[in-house]
Symmetry: C2
């Protein structure tokens, strides 16, 4: 398929707070690393800078992933879903993606009714 | 790590509408297929039946994925993220996951400022 349309962040479907969920996947391993939120400006900044930039709901500020920790996400691929209300970014992840020091935020599995921790902090 | 805690859906962090985003990933290929929403009951039903069950915001009803289309998702692995406000389900996906007939809902890539369709409907 070669259908092409100019991309405008304003055409995404944001929630009442002006945010859209963004799932980050490791471009090398395929592992799902985290989910966070972007607003239209964070989308534009991510595409312009190729540094994945979220919107921090707790701090109400741009959150250039890894800006303080060094655990940056270099954008490889930016995708929009069919409903235009969710994003998928594949990234080259430096260091652990999770603030707990684990590779992925999804380190807890529910198995036979109990929570099992699948990975330890890397640092 | 072998730390284990009994899992209670009520301990998840739901939004103001009582919902939590759930990312579905193909257990075989690692492809991210879709993102939809669950409430506490949908979480419990998914774990009990091993058929991934979302909450349809448009229909305000349980949405047993594939119930009408046959494109069911058999649960392989159910994970909770560090903040307990996002879920990751890995699944055996029968047929395409997307209602458009595509394998994944994330079939649109933004490349050099234009939208590129990466996959065609399978049927």
């Amino acid at each position: 398929m070669t259908e092409q349309t100019p991309f405008d962040p304003a055409t995404l479907r944001f929630d009442a707070a002006g945010l859209i969920p963004a799932v980050a996947q490791d471009a090398t391993t395929g592992e799902v690393l985290m989910m966070a939120w972007m607003n239209a400006d964070a989308v534009a900044r991510t595409l312009e800078t190729r540094r994945v930039t979220y919107w921090s709901r707790s701090r109400q500020a741009f959150w250039v992933k890894g800006e303080t920790s060094g655990h940056v996400q270099e954008l490889v691929d930016f995708r929009v879903d069919c409903d235009r209300d969710c994003l998928l970014v594949t990234v080259y992840q430096t260091g652990p993606a999770c603030h707990t020091g684990r590779r992925s935020c999804f380190y807890t599995e529910v198995r036979d009714g109990v929570e099992v921790e699948l990975m330890a902090p890397e640092e």
